[in-house]
Symmetry: C2
Subunit: 135 residues, 2 copies
DNA sequence: TTATAAATGTTATAATATTACATTTAGACT
DNA sequence: AGTCTAAATGTAATATTATAACATTTATAA
């Protein structure tokens, strides 16, 4: 709806697949350098190789960057089918990160941007606090 | 309401005042190092001096960190009177950054966090796109 | 005034991200 | 197949952002 993702995913390249593979296997965000470390055995040597793959994967909606952590996480919903806005709930205690999506948030942001005459391209919504088990 | 700010502001220290002074004079976010540069003439020498002041000013609600820019901006509303949630509208074309606040956003986030049984401590809402003049 | 917490000053270093440039690969089109 | 082009890759160097560790000074309040 607002992030103009491609309708169909193009085939991923070698490095894109490697990076996607790493992020898919874990349920938490990883730094670019942590991804690089875990791919040293696969021939990756330089940060840029990871950053470039991440950039592309983010454009495809397969990966999200968590700004407040300088880290990256695999998208957990089918971006080609459901292009709704995404927020992240980040537990300051256990470090758990969950992707959530709620229509009323979308409505709220629509109000705010409309009021300002603003065209929204990339929303960043990161909610830090205490998750159900930690509070 | 959710960011537990102090009711009354304590007196700022020397470095806190210097940093606050710089951020107050401009209307855009500045990196910690840009702040440092502009305070070299005032005796500041090390990044840490700026980062420490920023950390405190952020706790006091006088400064906000813009995560997607790794930069800091002076708060534009009276944080001791109006503790409502804050979002930032960031123009990708002209670089303009505006602080906005809207009750319906707050409602939306309340819904999302309630649904997840989550206690919100620090929301980060950064909306990148095109401002009225650039679109 | 003395105990204590906060703030400061300084050096070194860690962590994150990008620039620049050469080369290779994949797709689209004769 | 050959040719063109855009995208992706490989590599080294460097820029930018942030923190650790430690010594010292200042402000606050008991």
């Amino acid at each position: 709806m607002m992030e103009h993702l491609p309708d169909k995913l193009p085939k991923l390249t070698k490095n894109q697949n490697l990076v996607m593979g790493v992020l898919s296997k874990v349920d938490h965000p990883m730094s670019a350098y942590a991804i690089l470390d875990s791919l040293k055995g696969n021939g990756l040597r330089a940060p840029l190789q990871v950053y470039r793959a991440l950039e592309r994967l983010e454009m495809l909606g397969l990966v999200h960057r968590i700004e407040c952590m300088n880290a990256f996480v695999a998208c957990r919903h089918d971006a080609t089918k459901d292009d709704s806005m995404v927020a992240f709930i980040i537990c300051n205690s256990c470090g758990d990160v969950k992707e959530v999506s709620d229509n009323s948030v979308e409505v709220g942001l629509h109000n705010v941007t409309k009021k300002a005459g603003f065209i929204l391209q990339k929303p960043t919504i990161e909610l830090q606090g205490l998750c159900r088990s930690c509070r």
